[in-house]
Symmetry: C3
């Protein structure tokens, strides 16, 4: 982290549309509530943490409402403290611009076209026919395969691999070790062995997409895998062949999306979610961590599955019943018939789940 | 993708044992049903999609039965359209052969033996005692550790790492970033700290195995980790030390197989499955996505676990009951005794899950 | 594996505090019970495997109690055979020391400071301001970003990436492809698009920590991500921004720990566990594979969740009931009221889970 320059609190307030309560001050950086030092600005995301404002050494805090808060520091008052704080943090910590240099150890095919001011790090490999947009940064060991293109201002962190024939938009950021365009899992059974289903689709990534470390986005089998603009993928996510992820959808770590699933826009997914192949999810679907999605979700809303931890002995006893849950329901139905034979059942018991 | 050469439909029919219905035609490539263009061949995997045959621009389609299909195009009729289509796609998109060249930036130990026509890409590292078979391709940044061997015709995609003393068979394909032969998770508790359990087994991979991007296959602790011929592993899979995976078993992404598990042949697993250590799975076991396998499965068949998503409020209410499922069963048993004390219970309620 | 030198059984016994039963012998290596050859020592972890002692070709075995065992070989008797065997294996297979050499293809910034006897492999990149401790080993393609430090004796296996401003302690081992210090998943919603929350915390890793292949440990948003000494992480684990993992906690593969979770010391976790953000886990918590932890665990002990596999048809029928579990409980409550209206309910049925 380079030493950030300082800014006046009043300047931050006017830049980001907040009101000041308390004296102006010189701010040299951002920090968490409990570890902030004098000269730093912090924020209050949760009123339950309000007590910590009495003990923090911060010079200022971004809050939703300063009334009732201790007059020990200055406040920036705004509608969305987390967002405003993020923007202040961006001001102190802008993403580094391209160094506009090409390391001599990089291996760049003569037919590749590099835009102005690109940064090509050590041991980068750029194959034939590749196009790199202006100001893009390819960090150490990044690899771009034949005929792929990387948009202007996009950053490939160390060891990122973009395989052949893929398209990455502008202002994207792909974090360390992510793999874009590896072969999808396409196998046809011959009766005796697996045969390869050629994966001839591409990966298309629109602008302003961010992808986490060691995540994999497979190329399509016949049609392209597609990430719309503004998508956010965390680390260690699997996006299989032919998946489409809608605009601004954010997916947390350890999630797996199987082939040809189509996920709507503005969804919030995971982590640790599994989404079955060929399913369709509506816009604005939220899936809690650990959810399993075997079939379509046609309406936005919050969904969950999975079972939270309990002490092991409790779990063992519950599992005995869980394994015969349908039988339990059948026994209940039998008792209901004996006790109140005329009453309409409030819920049927299926002997078959067809 | 290089521009594929064209082929006659009649030639494809005779090569792959299909019958033609309709006129012969020149085919220049394969495509999906809904995006195919004139000159392309597609296939109908599912009769429900039959309607799309009326609107596709494809020149031909591979189908199981052409009777009743619109006479707008030619058909290749065969018993397994998906397999035949895969083979036609292979014909148009053969895997690229070795470039038979060694990049000057590769670091190759003088004691390594390279077969004829190998392709060694930029920044590849080959350590002492390594043997690389004829026609093998090691793409940019691949690493092969001391005394390992890579079989003839095998492809290591960019950044693949094969650690020391491992054996990879012929005609394998290991996709970007996969790690073969890292240390297993072997720790012995000393009463005060963890001590290392040396991982001195190898990874042995037979012929015709394919492994997905960023998947990890650990070396054995004492005995080797072993992938039999024809195994298919998808992306982001963990295969722990000493696991054995049987011939032609296919495992989908995000699955974890714990130490010393033995998985039979021709299994279909995952994705997102967890298989406990030291378990044994029979041949032809199918595990649905998200399954957890705590103990042996002695017979082939389809198995499942996990719970599909429901709306969040429903889930919260269900979880209250789930956490006391055994109590629910006990209450039902009590009611049954009151209502029909003489009737034999259709199922016992265990107060203890021993 | 280099050919190990031989040792006398009596020497091993005195080095590791075991008693010999049977004749002294020359030992040339360690092996598993069923594959051991003459001259090798094995161990008996489980009395159920005792029968295998009759057929093994091993010259000696480490056991807890030799009474009743067949006098076909020599025994080393000790309180913890697995630990003693691990120490014997370490003696035969010490970790390789640094080669104390710097490969000419490495790219090392002039401001980096390298300790004595470091090993820097091919295509390593060391950026400005980095400090590498004495005897550290950076294997092929490892990357250390600006101002990070790597402790004495620590090993970074091939392709490991340590991003800028991170601290890795002494005697750590980070396995192939692991990523330390990539950006956390920090996004603030603007009402229209995601904005970046700068990730300005570091990753701090204390001494004697081991991290598995392709695991990712993100840098903190504002405060550091922290792994205490002796932590063990397996492969393909996600540790999110601001997480703290306590001393000697071991986490198995495919586990995801969300942001700002605080995990105590001496926990045993996973694999395939999901731990929610901002949760706190006490010391000595054990979580079985596949557990989901949505909230704090305040006491040590063994916990579990998830549901084990059953045949698919059984699962389908159970799922029908599982989705209406609360309704099942309500129906049971209704029956109870009819049958024994005066009896106190042994458990309440919640119509609302609030």
């Amino acid at each position: 982290m380079r030493e950030p320059t300082t800014r006046q609190l009043s300047e931050l307030a006017s830049s980001f549309g907040a009101a000041i309560v308390g004296p102006d001050a010189t701010i040299r950086g951002v920090a968490a509530l409990r570890s902030a030092q004098p000269g730093e600005i912090t924020y209050l995301s949760n009123l339950k943490l309000q007590g910590a404002l009495r003990t923090t050494a911060a010079t200022a805090a971004v809050v939703r409402d300063a009334s009732g808060l201790p007059p020990l520091m200055s406040y920036l008052v705004c509608a969305d403290p987390a967002l405003t704080f993020a923007r202040i943090a961006q001001a102190f910590h802008p993403r580094p611009a391209s160094r506009a240099s090409i390391h001599p150890s990089a291996v760049i095919h003569e037919s590749a076209r590099l835009g102005a001011d690109v940064e090509i790090g050590p041991h980068v490999v750029i194959e034939a026919g590749v196009v790199i947009g202006a100001g893009a940064q390819l960090k150490a060991g990044a690899f771009v395969g034949e005929n792929s293109s990387i948009g202007a201002g996009t950053v490939l962190m160390p060891r990122v691999v973009v395989c052949a024939d893929c398209v990455v938009g502008a202002r994207c950021r792909i974090d360390v070790g992510a793999v874009i365009g590896a072969d999808g899992f396409g196998n046809a059974w011959s009766g005796d062995h697996w045969e390869r289903v050629p994966q001839i689709g591409r990966v298309i990534i629109e602008d302003d997409v961010e992808i986490g470390a060691n995540t994999t986005v497979d190329r399509g089998a016949l049609e392209d895998t597609y990430l719309e603009s503004g998508v956010r993928l965390d680390n260690l996510i699997q996006i299989a062949h032919g998946v489409r992820v809608g605009r601004n959808t954010a997916i947390a770590a350890c999630t797996g999306v199987a082939g040809s699933a189509v996920i709507g826009a503005n969804c919030l997914i995971g982590g640790g979610v599994l989404i079955a192949g060929h399913t369709r999810l509506a816009d604005k679907v939220s899936l809690l961590a650990g959810s399993g999605v075997p079939s379509d979700i046609d309406e936005g809303g919050v969904y969950a599955s999975g079972t939270p931890v309990v002490p092991h002995q409790t779990w063992l006893r519950n599992m005995v019943q869980f394994k015969k849950l349908n039988e339990l329901a059948r026994r209940l139905r039998a008792v209901e018939k004996l006790v109140a034979p005329a009453a309409p059942a409030s819920g049927a018991c299926n002997d078959d789940a067809s």
